[in-house]
Amino acid sequence: MPAVLSEPVVPPANGNVPSALAVEALSLSFGGVTALSDISFAVAPGEIRAVIGPNGAGKSSLLNVVSGLYRPDSGRVWLGGHSFAAVPTDRLATLGVSRTFQNLALFKGLSVLDNVAAGLSHRLRAGVLAQVIGLPAARRERAEAQAKAEELLAFLHLDDVRDRPAGTLPYGTQKRVELARALVSRPRLLLLDEPMAGMTLTEKRDLSGHIRAARDDLGATIVLIEHDIGVVMGLSDRIAVLDYGRLIADGTPDDIRNDPVVIDAYLGVAHDLEAGEGI
């Protein structure tokens, strides 16, 4: 049966629980090229939501709008009860939103621990002089950040590489460090842009486990872009499908698997399902 396109959402007032994320009639174009066209959907708290679609469908643009890196031409973004015409990137972390990037976005020159601790930058209050002099407040703040970073390193099995410069690590490990940096602030909403691109099968399986744990143990709502349909079907509660900047389907994995529109636009015939695209 075809997946039902969700009605334009009126997010917070809709149910008892406000959405972790909702976008409402988002449109975005670059020059004459439409990246997003009238997109509306909502993600419930605690959900793992995948966004799939062919290359150039507007998935990354969508994430960039939600994290404030792009300003939409029209529409609104709802984050934890606040509504924005343009999300203020500088306040993103304070709003409880973290993200990773499609291409690695680590601080190559910093150690793994410092990369992860940097994920708590928005909580630091001590001024630079207090840090240089080493006032107690600054020292405490820093120790707390490091302790939290160490927790995340343990959580994602990164203890061994704690002091290594992030740039020297293998690709899959760097991806995990980036996930740790995004999780260290215990975000309410975690946006993952192709977290598994370029990973081996084992790495993908591990990372799927970590993503699920981020939801189950750390309580994050997760929105991820992913090309590996096998992974997506196994991991997500709901899937939104974009094609040419439009939302063509939004439903459970089963809905999506059987949606003729999605099969036409993206999935292709059934035997491609298992292989996925991203391999």
Binding site: T89, F107, L124, V128, D163
Partner: protein
């Protein structure tokens, strides 16, 4: 709840003790103790004191360029601001202690640096480098045009008052060296604390991935401007040392684009984002022309006059920089580290 599970595994990491504190201690004892006993005036005035001033300038630029990743070609302008600010403070407010003069001169340089750092909020890389050239030319022009800064000296050349701190005259070669060493030690300590602090990490984050830095809540604009301010402060203090401890007679032309490049070369040759780098680079830049002169004289005798020397200096230095950029972008610091590791490795195998 689940935090408990996380915390269990988080503690109990053992950090390796580095030999650094010991080495630095020895270095400081040597630096303070040995030259006053053995060095000649020539060694102080032509090598050690200018080395210290340039190393400090390199340290300042390294914060901006090495750590924060913002290219600047205006360093010597900030040296000039520091030097002339201290000169005017000493001249016009003779009651102020000289250490306060230095601090204020650094703050003036920081303010000017902040001003010329504003374009960095919109410009990057090559474009920013060109905009810092504006600082270089503008500042030099102001000191040439506005007589007030040089106390209306017709040539623009000013002679600074003899150095004395808290009534203690330091106007000997050794005294000026020790004074410069004291300032450099204090500033280096502060810089070390800075680059090891969360703010120092934020500088590197900014350099390595500005967008990611913004997303995780690093106040990018503030950190960038801070980098300009701190860097200019330190370069300004280096300018004070240049004027008061080294040359004692300064003119705007002494703080020209050549000097800015010299400081940039110190940072590149020594090693970006490394405190040691500034010192190694400065040592090379100061000693290298002298070595080249000796070598040239020995090989070519009378043919090697000052014109040839200056030209060959530029050529060899240029080649050296190209070599470093290609073969060892991390500079002398990395070379030294590798050599050190090899020595240690051999010891371990032998022992």
């Amino acid at each position: 709840m689940t935090d408990l599970a996380l915390e269990k595994t988080a503690t109990g990491t053992v950090r390796r003790l580095s030999p650094a504190p010991f080495g630095i201690g020895v270095l400081l004892i040597v630096a303070y103790g040995v030259p006053p006993l053995v060095a000649s005036e020539y060694l102080f005035d032509a090598i050690l004191t200018p080395f210290l001033a340039l190393a400090l300038a390199g340290l300042g630029l390294n914060i901006l360029t090495g750590y924060a990743g913002q290219v600047s070609l205006g360093s010597s302008a900030f040296m000039a601001v520091g030097a002339y600010a201290a000169y005017n403070l000493a001249l016009r407010l003779p009651g102020l202690p000289f250490l306060l003069d230095i601090l204020l001169a650094g703050l003036v340089a920081a303010a000017v640096g902040l001003l010329f750092g504003l374009p960095s909020l919109r410009l990057r890389g090559f474009y920013l480098a060109v905009s810092t050239l504006a600082a270089q030319f503008f500042v030099q022009w102001v000191f040439n045009k506005v007589g007030w800064f040089s106390n209306d000296s017709p040539s623009g050349i000013v002679t600074v008052p003899p150095l004395s701190v808290a009534g203690l005259p330091l106007d000997s070669s050794a005294g000026r060296y020790l004074f410069a060493l004291g300032v450099v030690t204090a500033v280096t300590l502060a810089v070390w604390r800075l680059v090891e602090s969360p703010t120092g990490r934020a500088l590197v984050a900014l350099r390595d991935h500005e967008t990611a830095a913004r997303v995780i809540g690093i106040p990018v604009l503030r950190v960038k401007l801070l980098a300009f301010a701190v860097s200019s402060f330190i370069i300004g203090v280096a300018g004070v040392l240049w004027a008061f401890a080294y040359l004692r007679t300064v003119e705007p032309a002494g703080f020209n684009l050549d000097r800015s490049f010299q400081i940039l070369f110190i940072v590149i040759i020594g090693g970006l984002a490394s405190l040691r780098g500034a010192f190694l680079g400065a040592a090379l830049i100061v000693v290298f022309p002298l070595l080249l002169a000796r070598l040239g004289e020995a090989l070519l005798g009378g043919l090697f006059d000052s014109g040839v020397l200056e030209m060959s200096q530029r050529i060899v230095l240029g080649l050296l920089i190209i070599t470093f950029l290609i073969a060892e972008p991390a500079g002398l610091t990395a070379l030294l580290d590798r050599a050190w590791n090899r020595i240690c490795g051999r010891f371990r195998r032998a022992g």
